[in-house]
Amino acid sequence: MARAVVTLPAQAKRGEIIEIKTLAAHPMETGFRRTQLGELIPRDIIRRFTCTYNGTEVYRVDLHPAMSANPLIAFTTVATESGALSFQWVGDNGYTVTEIASIRVE
């Protein structure tokens, strides 16, 4: 099942700033909602998103319940070298998703 979608160019020129857009499938339950009988629905969110470029962390996001469901995180990074961009989402209840994309840098 699609747990995350990552969009970025397959190739770029060295030094070029590329745009990366990520979407993760997650309800981001705030922990503030109640059932019709008044019981609190426990918090269940993605807590951290990390983008690693050939092993080096280049962007890190700490998410709180105020982030919408199915969170979009769009950012930029400098295309320094060819290789692999790894995207990882970690959250409550053992949630962990990793997506890897290759990039060719000329």
Binding site: Q36, G38, E39, Y59, H64, A66, M67, S68, T76, V78
Partner: protein, 157 residues
Amino acid sequence: MITRREFLVLTAASVAVPAAVKAQVDPNLVANRKAAFQDALRRIVSDAQVRRGRVKLQLPPLIDNGNSVPLSVAVESPMTDADHVKAIHVLTEKNPLPDVVSVRLSPRAGRASLATRVRLADTQTVTAIAQMSDGSFWSDSAEVVVTLSACLEEGLI
């Protein structure tokens, strides 16, 4: 759809439920949330002064739905080793929690920016704070009007 019998049985059972579970509105809601916002701000900047500028926070002034408000932050910075944005924080003063999102970055980002979608509980001011490599703090705020959707799923009882 819950039947009348099921509802009565469940309601009877819920009387035995501890008080902590029952929903209660904080009588000092506004004041407490404002204080929480100040605490969160203090946690980020401690004693440093926060200056207006260099940060551009964009939110639609009137939004379609408070569950998903498009937000973008961009910070003017050369993003070099000598002068770059180390972190971006977004805070609110009327949400149940003041923190919305925090970003840690480096010159590798190329541009200090974030585009995402956030939840806003009420018409309010949203604040973005940028922490620079030289230790300075810059900020921007935006006001948003939040309305309620029509034709919701709740209201079955």
